[in-house]
């Protein structure tokens, strides 16, 4: 059975080390980028961050894939070594049985009664041949598996995002943000989300957005909401759990989320879901 398991094992070890080096590179890249961009704001910082994020995604993919290649080669090497040992042992036994069979046939030809022994030896040789064939099948299957792994474990294809018409430096669209960066859709890059001032709520702006809380009770609401005491009606949709507003009359609206007992009927009921006006 051809192949050099020791040589394959050495290659697998080199690939495992290379995967470790790529992991070190990824860590250094992330640490370096974090150190560099912690006090760096503006279009250049955003562009650098996005490009470095895309590069880090490729490095991580390379690290995992090279590691998988090493593991596949190591697995093939182990299988090949075991099958070579088994094949060698089977061939040795077959040679011995063939010698015995020849001797038995010589003895039979000389007039000795060894017919049963010759038949038995022939059957044992056939079983060994079957075992040898099975070993060859296993070796072929292992070779096919490794061939497929070598062809399938590829580098990540680079995806280039065409520049948006009229794009300004420093602006990142929401789909690009959702995809993980402005340059490539690679690993999400850790970067602080800047706080958007409350006054910015009425303006279009670039970059990630924080929810703007204007409810005086600091609660978020779900669904259409009535006028809050200090807001003009109907200007915004809010999300989150609902708490009864003490200064609003019940029954004028549908509420979602947990509802506690009404203040004027303690303990009479606990309602869930939409509630109507209390009697």
């Amino acid at each position: 059975m051809p192949g050099d398991p020791q040589g394959l094992s050495r290659s697998a070890l080199v690939l495992a080390r290379a995967a470790g080096d790529l992991a070190d590179q990824d860590r250094a890249l992330r640490r370096g980028s974090a150190v560099a961009t912690s006090g760096w704001l503006g279009a250049a910082a955003l562009a650098f961050d996005a490009a470095a994020g895309g590069h880090a995604g490729r490095v991580v993919h390379a690290q995992r894939t090279v590691e998988s290649l090493g593991a596949a080669i190591r697995a093939y090497s182990t299988t090949l070594e075991a099958l070579q040992r088994r094949t060698s042992s089977l061939l040795g036994r077959r040679r011995a049985l063939t010698e015995e069979l020849r001797a038995a046939r010589r003895q039979a030809a000389a007039g000795g009664a060894t017919g049963t022994t010759a038949q038995d030896l022939s059957a044992r040789i056939r079983r060994l041949d079957d075992d040898l064939e099975e070993s060859q099948r296993q070796a072929s299957a292992a070779r096919r598996t490794l061939t497929a792994a070598l062809d399938d474990l590829r580098p990540r294809p680079t995806r280039r995002v065409p520049p948006r018409p009229g794009a300004r430096a420093g602006c990142t669209s929401l789909p690009e943000l959702a995809a993980g960066g402005a340059v490539t859709g690679a690993t999400a890059w850790q970067r602080r989300i800047p706080t958007v001032p409350v006054a910015a709520g009425r303006r279009a702006h670039c970059g990630p957005v924080r929810p703007v809380l204007t409810n005086p009770f600091h609660h978020m609401r779900t669904g259409p909401v009535g006028p809050a005491p200090d807001e003009s009606p109907g200007h915004r949709m809010q999300t989150g759990p609902v708490s009864p507003a003490p200064d609003e009359s019940p029954g004028h609206r549908m509420q979602t989320g947990p509802v506690g007992p009404a203040p004027d009927a303690p303990g009479r009921r606990v309602g869930t879901g939409p509630v109507g006006p209390l009697p």
């Binding site: 370096g32 760096w40 070598l150 602006c171």
Partner: protein, 96 residues
């Protein structure tokens, strides 16, 4: 977002940290290992697949290394440029 608030030292520290990741001979080591697989495979198809993988990964790791050097170089350049700009502004406001 055009505001600029930059620490030139931080940029140069970042570049140094990236360099510390090493990996200069990575591409060559992987190519040699995969070529060794091709010669140790004992099967023509497997050897061809290992050869293709060696070409593919050699190119990818070389490109990754070039990109890494590019990031380091750009960080260093940015650090130098911001430091020069800062020094120039400080010198100009100190002039009578």
């Amino acid at each position: 977002m055009t505001a600029l608030s930059t620490d030139p030292g931080g940029l140069r520290d970042g570049a140094r940290t990236m360099v510390a990741g090493g990996g200069d001979a990575l591409s060559a080591a992987v190519v040699v290992a995969l070529r060794a697989v091709a010669s140790a495979a004992g099967d023509a198809q497997l050897a061809e697949a290992a050869g293709r993988a060696a070409d593919r990964w050699g190119a990818e790791l070389t490109e990754l290394e070039e990109h890494r050097r590019g990031f380091v170089s750009r960080l260093h350049t940015a650090g130098e440029a911001y430091a020069e700009a800062e020094a120039s502004v400080i010198a100009s406001v100190r002039r009578p």
